[in-house]
C-alpha cells in the first residue's frame, strides 16, 4: 500500500468511526522494506499510534532462508524512520529456533534489538503450520526441525534474556515494557468482544464467532455476510476463554469474568482435572484467577487437549 492509499483509507475510516478521537490504540503492521519516511509520516498523520515491524531476524542467512527481501540494516532504518515520524510505541517481530541456529546468535539478535529500545517484542518459535512450504519440506523428510529439547531451552532463555533487558513475557510469544502490552491483542486473549473488518477478518461478538468472506471480489459485494458463523454454547465459550486466557502467564483467566461471560466458573467446571494439573505443577488456582506455572505454560496444548469436552 502506498502512503496516499493509506491516507485515503484511514481518512475514510475516520469519517465512519471517528476513531481518531476515541481509539486507545491504532496499530499498523509493516515490513521494513516498504516502510519509508513518507509512509511513516502518512501513518502518524492519519492517526496511527503504534507500529509493528516484521524484522524476523538480523542474520542474513536466516532472512534469506525465510524468503525475506529486507536486510538487518533496512530493518533498523525502518525503525528510526518510525521514531522520527513520531511513533512512541513500536513492536519488532522475530522468529527463532531455526534448525542449527546457534543460541548465542539468537541472544545477539535480542541484544541488538534491545539497543533500539522498542516498547514491545514478539518472539515466535519457528512453527510448522499445515500447508506451508516448510511443513511440506518437513513431511518430505527434507527439512529436519530443531530438536525439541533445544527449542525448550530457547523458549526459556528468551524470557531470561529479555527480562534482564527490561521486558516482561505477558503472553507466550509477546514481551513488553511496563504498560506497553498490545491492547487489541490483549482484548482477544481475554475474550473481549471484537469486530473484524475486511476480507477473511474474524469477529467475536455476543457469543458468536464469525469470519468475513475471504475472496475480495465476493466480499466487496457482500461485506456483511459471513463465511463462517458459530454460536458458542456456554461450555464452548468457556473452553475458548481458557484457550486464549491461559496464554497469559501473569494475568491468567479471571474467574469472575469467566463467570460473567459464560455463567460458569472454570475452577468448578474442571474441578477434578485442575486438581490433577495442580499436583502436576502445571496450574495455579487462586481465588480470583487461574494461570499456568512456567512448566504448565510449556505444556499448554497438552493441558487444553485434556480439557476438551468428550465427543
Amino acid at each position: 500500500m502506498g502512503d496516499d492509499n493509506l491516507r485515503f483509507f484511514l481518512d475514510s475510516l475516520n469519517e465512519i468511526t471517528h476513531f481518531r478521537n476515541s481509539a486507545a490504540e491504532v496499530s499498523i503492521e509493516a515490513n521494513p522494506e516498504s516502510f519509508t519516511d513518507a509512509f511513516a509520516t502518512a501513518a502518524i498523520e492519519s492517526g496511527c499510534n503504534r507500529l509493528s515491524l516484521g524484522v524476523q531476524s538480523f542474520q542474513p542467512n536466516i532472512l534469506q532462508a525465510y524468503d525475506r527481501v529486507h536486510s538487518a540494516d533496512e530493518a533498523k532504518r525502518a525503525f528510526y524512520s518510525a521514531r522520527k515520524a513520531g511513533f512512541s510505541r513500536i513492536n519488532l517481530d522475530f522468529i527463532y529456533a531455526f534448525p542449527g541456529q546457534d543460541p548465542k546468535q539468537w541472544e545477539a539478535d535480542l541484544q541488538e534489538a534491545a539497543r533500539l529500545d522498542p516498547e514491545h517484542l514478539s518472539c515466535y518459535e519457528l512453527a510448522y503450520e499445515p500447508g506451508t512450504a516448510l511443513t511440506k519440506l518437513k513431511q518430505a523428510g527434507r527439512w529436519e526441525p530443531e530438536d525439541e529439547d533445544v527449542c525448550q531451552a530457547l523458549f526459556e532463555s528468551t524470557e531470561n534474556w529479555l527480562s534482564g533487558l527490561g521486558y516482561t513475557r505477558y503472553e507466550i510469544s509477546n514481551y513488553a515494557k511496563p504498560r506497553e502490552e498490545c491492547l487489541h491483542n490483549l482484548a482477544s486473549w481475554r475474550s473481549l468482544d471484537y469486530i473484524g473488518l475486511g476480507t477473511g477478518a474474524a469477529s467475536w461478538r455476543n457469543g458468536i464467532r464469525s469470519k468475513n468472506i475471504l475472496d475480495p471480489r465476493v466480499y466487496q459485494k457482500r461485506p456483511f455476510e459471513q463465511s463462517e458463523s458459530e454460536a458458542r454454547l456456554p461450555e464452548e465459550a468457556l473452553f475458548d476463554l481458557m484457550l486464549m486466557g491461559l496464554r497469559l502467564p501473569q494475568q491468567g483467566v479471571s474467574r469472575k469474568r469467566a463467570l460473567r461471560q459464560t455463567g460458569l466458573d472454570p475452577a468448578e467446571y474442571w474441578c477434578e482435572l485442575f486438581n490433577q494439573f495442580k499436583s502436576n505443577g502445571w496450574l495455579e488456582i487462586k481465588a480470583d484467577c487461574i494461570r499456568t506455572t512456567p512448566r504448565g505454560l510449556l505444556l499448554l496444548d497438552t493441558i487444553l487437549g485434556q480439557m476438551l469436552p468428550e465427543v
Binding site: Y124, E125, A127, E148, D149, C151, Q152, F155, I172, S173, N185, S188, Y194, G196, G200, A201, A202, W204, R209, K211, E228, E230, F239, D240, L243, M244, R247, L297, L298, L299, L300, D301, T302, L304, G305, L308, V311
Partner: protein, 601 residues
Amino acid sequence: MPKNYPTERIRNFSIIAHIDHGKSTLADRFLDIATPGDGRKKQEQRLDSMDLERERGITIKAAAVSLELKIKGQDYLLNLIDTPGHVDFAYEVEKSLQACEGALLLIDAAQGIQAQTVANAMLALEQDMEVMPVFNKIDLPHARPDEIAQELEHVLLLESEGVLHCSAKTGKGVPAIIDEIVERIPAPKGDPKAPLRALIFDAAYDEYRGVIVYLRIVDGIIRKRDLVHMIGADANYEVLELGRYTPEPKPCDELHPGEVGYLISNIKELGDIRVGDTITVNKGERAEVLAGYREPQPMVWCGIYPVQSKDFEDLRTALDTLKLNDSSIIFEPETSEALGFGFRCGFLGLLHMEIAQERLERESGIDIVQTAPTVPYQILLTDGTTRDIHRPGDLPDPTQYNEVREPIVTSHILVPTDCIGPIMSLCSERRGVFLKQEHLSANRVMLTWDLPLAEVIYDFYDKLKSGTKGYGTMNFDEPRFFAANLVKMRILVNEVEADALSVICHADDAQRRGRAVLQVLRKEIPRHQFKVPLQAAVGGKILARETISALSKNVTAKCYGGDITRKRKLLEKQKEGKKRMKSIGSVEVPQKAFLAVLRTD
C-alpha cells in the same frame, strides 16, 4: 443377450501375462468389437472396476465378461477372464484358468518374456490347455518381436512361427486374434442332459441382493426358479436371478454347459458360499463334486485388530465378506496382550496384504491396526512333532524346541546379462544358495537361487529393480522349510513386552535389526509426559536400547483472535488421533509404529 449357445459356439479363455503387458487394455478392444455402440464407456481398462484398481492402475481381481460376436457368419459366445499380472495375485490366475479351455499369453513386444510370463505360462501349460502367445505393444518404436520370438522358443518351448502381433492400444491386429481363438481354443465339453454341475469360481456381497455367485456351468442346465444345492456347504437355495456380465449384468433365464455367469438367491449367510464349491440340483439326481481349488499357501502373516475393541465382531463380518471376494485370504482369531482381540491373517504377499487391509477399511469403515508382517516358520519340538508358527510371539522358550525352520523359495530371476554381477551379490548377501544360470537370449539370463522367503519378501524386489535399471523381474515357487539359526527378538516399551512388535530374525543379524527397529520406534512413538525406555532383547539379553525423552514442551507459538477456531479444531484432531492409538502398558503407540518395524533396513 437372451439366447443360449451350444457348446461348440462357446470359447472360454483367460488373458494372462506379466504385470502391465496390456491384458486389461486388450480386453477393452474385445469389448469395443463386441459392443461397438458403447461409446459412452470410453474409459480405459474397463474391467478394472474396483476403486483401488483404478487408483493404482493395476488389476487386482480377475474379471469375467461374456462377449457375443459374429465370426465368419456364425454367432459365438466368448467368455474372457482378464487376470492380474502381479505375483501376489497368481492365485487369481490359477483359479481363472480352471474355468477355461485356453489362454492368451500376452507378451509386451518391447519388454519381452518376464518372470510372470514364465510363471503364468507354466500354470496354463500344467493344466494342459491351449496356450496362444500374442505379442502386444507392437506400436512401440523399440518393440523387438524377432528377439522375443527367440526367447519364446528358448524359454517356454512354444512355437514362435505365426505368433500374432497386436497393439491393444490402437486395436491393430485384434480381429485376427478373435478368429484364431475360435480356431485354436477348444470348445468346452459338457452334457446338457446330465445332472447340473456348476463351479463357483468367485463371489461378491451386495447389501441388498445378498451374495452374488459367479459360476461356470460344467454339465446340465441351470434355470431361474430352480432349487439348487451347494454340495460342500450343504445349503439349498432357489435361483432368483441368473445372468451374464457384458460387463454390465444382463439377466437371462438359463445357463448351459460351458457358459459363465452369475446367480442371485438372496443369500445372506456368507458361509454358504465357498469359492471352489460345486452347485447341483436340490431334488433328483445329484452330481459329483468338481475338483475345486487348491488351498492357497500364505507367504506372509500379520495381525489385524480393530482400533476400538467393540468393533471385533464387525471386523469378523468384514473379513468374512472380504474372503467371499478374495478367497486367498486366511484368517483366525487371536489375542495379543498389547492389542486385545483380533485376527491373524495370511496373505500371498505384501501387496496383497496392503490391498486387503485397504479394502477392509474402505468397505467396512472400521479403523484397524495392523501388526508387522512375518513369514511363516516351522518348529521341531523336543517331542519330535512339528508346529507352524504364524507370529513371532508364538515361538516358545528355546528349551521347548530342537530347531526353527524357515521358508526357502526357489527363485527365478530374469535380468539383462550386464547386470548379473550386482544381482549375484545381492542374492548371496541375502543368504541365498546359487543353483543355476541359463541364457534366454544373447543379452538376457535367468538366474535360479534358493533364497530365504523372509529376505525376499520385504525390499528384495526394490533392490532387484534398482540393480537392473528396472529390467529385472522375479518369480518364486512355493516355500520349503529348512532349519536355520533363528531367534525371537522381543521389544520392550517402557519395560512392557510388546508381543505385537517382536520379530523372528537370523541370530547374526539380531543386533543390527534390534537397533534399527528401536530407532524407527523412537521416531514414530510420540513423546509422553514421562521418559519411555525402549529395549530390544533376545532371551534375557538386551541387544539395543533407546529412550524417548519426556514431553517437555507442547505449546503453540501464535494464536490470535482469528486463530481460535482453527486452533480448537487442531486440538480436537489430535485428541481423535490419540483414540486411534493402541496402548502398550501406559504408552500410546500409533499404527504407523507397528508397520515401521518393517522399514528397518
